[in-house]
């Protein structure tokens, strides 16, 4: 078994009186792909938001690389190696596709805002015209997700499926060890779906651990090493995909009765 | 209790009621359409000028009452026209910066058109009660001021009844809470937008007549009610009508007390200090989570 990279213990989040995530404990290992599934409103996105630092947990802990990171801000977690995408894409609409990637490539561990602003006056560090390394890396990532032909297009003009890929490329540009994907296949047609599966596999092939929220069963069953099932904010099952898929509790959660999943 | 103190509180409540009236329109429009209208106080200015002209024709108390009605109608029409021509086409813009800027453009335009058409000298609206005062024991005030307070309260209550009881009013509140759901429920959103803007502007128009009667009418008078209305709206939570009512009274009292006990020359700054504090401590306003209208 590979090294453990992230662990949550009793993770809980309340919104007002509503418990969105309740007492969820699990661990992720280096380099694995874990599928996070559950009916709508099960708390999947909330869990990803907690892990990426969008808001602090109400209680419980998150350890990343053995360090307690609960309550850390999103930008800080990103600098530590956790990147994410969003259910509703949040690309930078007025930037070109290339600039979207370049925005991620800046080494923010070394360059704070003041340093970035002041060095720009005498050095072409991260200058859009002049930084050859950053440009090469950006081109490589564009090629990786198949967006090379669109590099100078404004992001807001991209077809929907490509905005999803751009967001993945942007997340990759921050060189994550753990990538959280929130419904990367939502709204894609069958061909685009196959492309997306290929991209996710190749990212994983580079040693990046992935937690993926997905409703499209074809995707989740074919790429996940392991599944975690949430229902009403609680973890109700965890394990190998086939086993979880047949788990009566899971079937009940999805179908709301004692019906069985037809194969 | 100190009678000066009490007197100031009463004065504050009176001016506060007018702030509430004007701010309600602003907060309604924000709640329903997410428009922050920096020209809102200029609707009040237009209302005040309508009163000036109506009272030229028809002086005395009767003229004043007619002026209030005429201001409501004319400013409502002006509001609807500006909504259709200027604001609605910008509803799908990427940032709210466009909407705010365009309303600032309208503010500059209206204020200077007024300077262009009307003389710069302030005009007084004749007191329909002939300056009679009322003695209420510890405090005294003019009949006019008392009437302003009563009239504002009645107008506010009337609006509340309309919003809570009538079908259209409920549709407005529904749109304010969730415009997408309202649309799915078969509410004609565009009609609601027009209606809300008209109604909100009319409140500003009436408020303008009262404000103009209490102080004076002049072309650039709109800026202060605009800023006050924003202070009140933020105080009560933007889009929150009940918040705006209380916010208006709070600001009115805080200003008169601050003006008499602290420093008169900084009276207009008191509101800003309050909202900067409110925004830093409780950005959703004093009155609860985002409640909608």
């Amino acid at each position: 078994m590979a090294d453990e990279i992230l662990r949550t213990d009793g993770l809980t989040k309340y919104f007002g009186g509503l418990c969105a995530v309740g007492d969820v404990s699990f661990a992720l290992s280096d380099g694995e792909i874990v599928g996070l599934i559950g009916p709508n409103g099960a708390g999947k996105t909330t869990l990803v938001n907690l892990m990426s630092g969008a808001f602090p947990p109400s209680s419980g802990t998150i350890h990343y690389n053995g360090r307690s990171v609960g309550g850390f801000k999103a930008h800080r977690l990103n600098k530590m190696g956790i990147a994410r995408t969003f259910q509703v894409v949040r690309i930078f609409k007025t930037l070109t596709v290339l600039e979207n990637i370049q925005a991620s490539l800046i080494d923010r561990r070394r360059y704070g805002p003041w340093r970035l602003a002041l060095t720009s006056l005498y050095k072409r560090a991260y200058s859009l015209d002049a930084d050859a390394d950053a440009r090469q890396e950006a081109e490589r990532l564009l090629d990786f997700v198949g967006l090379t032909d669109y590099r100078d297009e404004l992001a807001e003009n991209l077809p929907y499926a490509y905005t999803k890929r751009l967001e993945i490329a942007r997340a990759l540009a921050t060189r994550p060890r753990l990538l959280l994907l929130d419904e990367p296949s939502a709204g894609l047609n069958p061909r685009e779906l196959d492309d997306q599966i290929g991209i996710i596999r190749r990212i994983n092939g580079q040693g990046v651990a992935i937690l993926i929220i997905e409703h499209v069963m074809k995707v989740i069953m074919s790429i996940s090493h392991r599944l975690i099932v949430l229902h009403y904010g609680k973890k109700i099952a965890e394990g190998a995909p086939e086993a979880v898929y047949r788990d009566p509790r899971v079937v009940e959660a999805y179908l709301g009765g004692d019906a069985h999943v037809a194969h | 209790m100190d009678s000066l103190f009490l007197q100031q509180v009463v004065n504050g409540l009176i001016i506060g009621s007018v702030y509430s009236l004007i701010a309600i329109g602003l907060t309604m429009i924000f709640g329903v359409m997410r428009i922050s209208n920096f020209a809102h106080g200029d609707y009040a200015m237009v209302g005040a000028y309508v009163a000036v002209f109506v009272m030229m024709w028809l002086p005395g108390p009767l003229g004043w009452v007619n002026a209030l009605l005429a201001a409501a109608v004319i400013v409502a029409v002006a509001g609807v026209v500006s909504e259709l021509l200027i604001f609605r086409p910008l509803l799908d813009r990427r940032t709210d910066i466009d909407m705010i800027m365009v309303s600032i453009g309208l503010f500059i335009l209206l204020e200077n058109l007024a300077q262009f058409f009307f003389e710069a000298r302030p005009r007084m609206l004749a007191d329909p009660f002939g300056g009679n005062t009322v003695d209420l024991g510890l405090v005294s005030t003019s009949q006019l001021r008392l009437f302003c307070l009563a009239f504002s309260c009645v107008a506010i209550a009337g609006l509340q009844v309309f919003l809570n009881r009538s079908k259209t009013g409920i549709a407005i509140r529904a749109t304010s809470q969730n415009s997408r759901a309202a649309r799915l429920m078969g509410i004609d959103i565009n009609r609601i937008y027009t209606l809300t803007f008209g109604l909100g502007s009319a409140m500003a128009g009436i408020g303008g007549v009262l404000y103009g009667t209490l102080f004076a009418v002049y072309p650039t008078m709109g800026a202060i009610p605009t800023l006050k209305a924003f202070v009140v709206t933020i105080l009560g939570g933007m889009g929150n009508i009940r918040g705006a009512i209380f916010g208006g009274f709070i600001l009115g009292v805080a200003e008169t007390l601050g003006g008499s006990y602290l420093a008169m020359e900084y009276k207009n700054a008191i509101g800003f200090v309050i909202i900067i504090l409110v925004l830093l401590i409780r950005p959703q306003g004093l009155f609860g989570q985002r409640e909608g209208v």
Binding site: A54, L95, R108, Y126, D152 | I104, N112
Partner: protein, 334 residues
């Protein structure tokens, strides 16, 4: 000719015109208009950095301008501090105020930030009106010394009492401002600002500490406006609380919107167009005896936002011979 050479030629021609104009022009009134254009160009460029590129709606920009003006003026008249040092001091104090005003921006946006920034400027204006001991109130500060002469030899020195020599100083400051903003916008700093403008949550997710970036850009923007204010004080040699007024901010934002918000050349173009246009209008108004200038400002603002959101620059970019930057990997040329 490649777009790049066209652009360079245009820039060179513009710069040449820029620096020969004061030599050719002899009319003092015209020189004065040029000075005011230059000061407004610094203000619009700095406001645009904050609002156009970083998306932080600041309606209190005149406050930074006023702080710069009052700081340098008070230092010179009360403490006899050299106006050249005053320029820097004015910029720095305005920058400190910018940092302060940036703090609410960490939690507020849109109308909330707009009203807070208006409030900030209004409070400062009231202070300038009422702290008579320090500012002489609404009378304003007068007798502000001009920039001190720069000695060349023991008996020759450059004076800055004439409009022309002052204009050269101003042009250099303007050029430095525009150059610095341009370098910043085209670097990773600018990309980050635009990212944070487009989507704050998205920016956080790629490691942008949005809070620190906002504070930084508020501070930088305020610094330039403060220097512009200090320059104005030593040029006009009389300042009043009007420098802090809302009207001043509205002029800045109308110019920027007209030229093109979020573009590099737009704010300068807007400052040039509107300063000259309003002087011309003043001329017309004298003839027809009507005050229509501000009416036109309001109309321009509405029409620009409604029909030409990208401003005059947006129209120019559509011309076939205009050098395009888009397609070279930069979206900032628009």
């Amino acid at each position: 000719m490649t777009p790049r050479t066209t652009r360079r030629l245009l820039t060179a021609a513009g710069l040449a015109a820029f620096f020969t104009l004061p030599l050719v022009v002899t009319d003092r009134y015209f020189l004065h208009i040029l000075v005011m254009t230059g000061i407004f160009a610094i203000l619009t460029s700095s406001w645009n950095l904050l609002t156009g590129y970083a998306g932080q709606l600041n309606l209190g920009h005149a406050a930074f301008y006023g702080i710069g003006a009052y700081t340098s003026a008070i230092l010179a008249t009360r403490l006899g501090i050299n106006p050249w040092a005053g320029l820097l001091a004015g910029g720095l104090l305005a920058a400190a105020a910018g940092f302060l005003l940036g703090i609410p921006s960490l939690r507020l946006s849109g109308p909330y930030l707009a009203i807070t920034t208006i409030g900030f400027a209004e409070i400062l204006r009231l202070v300038a009106m009422n702290w008579v001991d320090l500012t002489r109130g609404s009378l304003g500060l007068y007798g502000i010394p001009p920039l001190t002469p720069i000695p060349i030899t023991s008996n020759v020195s450059i004076e800055f009492t004439s409009e022309r020599n002052f204009l050269y100083v101003l042009l250099i400051v303007l050029l430095l401002t525009v150059w610095a903003i341009r370098r910043m916008i085209r670097s990773g700093f600018g990309v980050t600002l635009k990212a944070l403008r487009d989507d704050e949550v998205g920016a956080e997710s790629i490691g942008v500490d949005t809070a620190r970036f906002k504070l930084t850009v508020f501070t930088i923007s305020a610094f330039f406006a403060g220097v512009a204010g200090a320059l104005f004080a030593h040029y006009q040699r009389l300042i009043s609380p009007d420098t802090l007024s809302l009207g001043e901010t509205f002029a800045i934002l109308t110019m920027t919107m007209l030229g093109g918000l979020g573009t590099l050349t737009g704010p300068i173009l807007g400052a040039v167009i509107l300063t000259f246009f309003s002087e011309w209008l003043r001329f017309v108004e004298d003839m027809v005896k009507l005050d229509v200038r501000m009416v036109i400002y309001g109309l321009l603002l509405i029409v620009t936002i409604r029909f030409m959101r990208e401003g005059v620059v947006g129209l120019l970019v559509k011309l076939p011979w205009w050098p395009k930057t888009l397609g070279k990997g930069g979206s900032d040329g628009r």
